[in-house]
Symmetry: C2
Subunit: 316 residues, 2 copies
């Protein structure tokens, strides 16, 4: 009876009692202990999380790409112009090399534009939710929850229960993630920071709406992550969690020159059996090389997925 | 004793018992009454407020312009290049016509660039706070609080006490307002939406910082207000409060086509004795003409400052 109560009370049951867990718990206990000298008031307890590869799996391809393909397949039969676009044809044929070609990945941007702009924000949300309802990971099965990491969902809850505000800061589309971030992660729309383009205000037949355009693109990745954080939060986070070189600047902004105590965490994908194993050569995106190399000198925690997590994917 | 208790319990003591107050209270009571059919859950109780002319006075000139002049005066003696700029000379001579000339107000943008970019966000915040500490309104006296409207501060508190989240959505600079919005309005940095430019991530001597640049300017006014609201909040507000045509699109986005009950409020400056009286011909900015004309058909509340408010400026 006592033992099971103790287990139930563990806020991080999927984290083995190893260095990563110990460092996270020590940090949270330190910044929440009044009079500890390292106490951080609640309003400043900002924790930022990457999404792809950090909160959910980004293999064998980023989840958002599944939405792109779903939309292209759904629309191509009724939209000849869309169906005849060479990049749509490349996407539907699974030719990701064609989409990713060139420095600016013009093919990828083209199919993103075709599937993410031109409709109102309300319509877009409905499309994402319709897609999400039928999503199935090729290996892990049905539902978006099936690709999320249980230890990370526990960590989000643990931080919020300790007065932290948890933000997603991802290269993924903000409007895309907002359609399910509350449900999956307990993160409301206003705490989702991601890639954006401008919307356009339209007022017709007594209804005001915002139409998604391709203008003023903001890609919330690499050096732009701290930029997005400042623009949207206006405070320096005290904790940052990522898994790739795209998160390095965000971790640096959080941990270098912060007047508050801070913690940087990198998730290292070491578990081919339960999820995937990669770092410098990821399946599609999520390269981890430079950030891993500087982690020791920066004092960042590196989570060894295989060793540190007793559960990986969320039960569904 | 009983009478004074009743007065102390009034959440809006500076609002006279007239139509404006009654409409606001009726709206708040309706959306917070479970089972009312018009109940709005807390997470969706988003209220957005313009700042200049809505939360504080924008006459005889916008407060942020005082910061610009203060910085130019402070720096000109040490910075010959800055001092020799024709637009700096126009500003220091009080020639606002020169600054506002042309469709794009190039002179104004020039002095804003000189005073709002080139430094880190931390440095900028220190400069704003140093200026704020010595600020004095030419008519109302010392301190930023002296130009804020007591009824609006009461309204912000009243809404928050009823589960609303209150955002500032202003054409003013986001970083500028964030330096004092918590203190003046109880609005934390992450709930301040304003005009922005990009920052640039810099890492030097083991310290990460963000340097303010002139790139990718976003002017959070007029049709861009709903755009900023969606980008930053990702939800449609249920209440919007403004005072000028620059707020019209924000009020339309809030009240036209909203699946929730909604309320639009315009402050009409009718009180030359206690503050200022203007609408279509404002001192510098804050023109109210078209929004006032459409208010009745939109069902928006128009606050008559002279008649509706028993107090105007905050005691200091």
């Amino acid at each position: 009876m006592h033992a099971s109560t103790a287990v139930a009370a563990d806020p991080l049951p999927s984290w083995r009692d190893r260095a990563s867990r110990q460092a996270i718990v020590a940090f949270v206990e330190k910044v929440t202990a009044r009079g500890s000298g390292e106490y951080v008031e609640e309003a400043e307890r900002i924790a930022v999380f990457d999404n792809d590869g950090t909160l959910w799996s980004e293999a064998p391809m980023p989840v958002q790409m599944d939405f792109v393909l779903h939309e292209l397949k759904r629309r191509a039969p009724q939209e000849p112009e869309l169906a005849s676009d060479p990049m749509v044809q490349a996407a539907l044929a699974g030719d990701f090399d064609a989409l990713m070609a060139g420095q600016s990945h013009a093919g990828l941007l083209r199919v993103l534009q075709l599937t993410h702009t031109g409709m109102t924000t309300d319509d877009f949300r409905r499309r994402v939710r319709a897609w999400a309802a039928q999503y199935r990971h090729p290996r892990f099965g049905a539902g978006l929850a099936a690709v999320t990491y249980t230890p990370m969902r526990e960590l989000l809850d643990y931080l919020r229960n300790n007065g932290f505000t948890t933000y997603i800061v991802s290269g993924g589309g903000a409007d895309f993630m907002r359609a399910f971030a509350q449900e999956l992660y307990g993160v409301p729309p206003e705490q989702v920071i991601g890639s954006t383009t401008d919307t356009e205000f339209v007022l017709a037949d007594g209804v005001a709406a915002l139409r998604k355009t391709s203008e003023r693109m903001f890609i919330d990745d690499k050096l732009a992550k701290p930029v997005g954080i400042h623009e949207r939060i206006g405070r320096r986070p005290v904790m940052a969690v990522g898994n790739s070189d795209g998160d390095q600047a965000m971790l640096e902004y959080t941990t270098l020159g912060n007047p508050h105590p801070s913690l940087g965490v990198l998730v290292h994908h070491t578990d081919a059996r339960r999820e995937y194993a990669y770092d410098a050569s990821p399946p599609v995106s999520g390269r981890l090389a430079n950030a891993l190399a500087v982690a020791p000198s920066r004092g960042w925690i590196v989570v060894d997925m295989a060793a540190d997590w007793s559960n990986v994917l969320h039960p569904h």
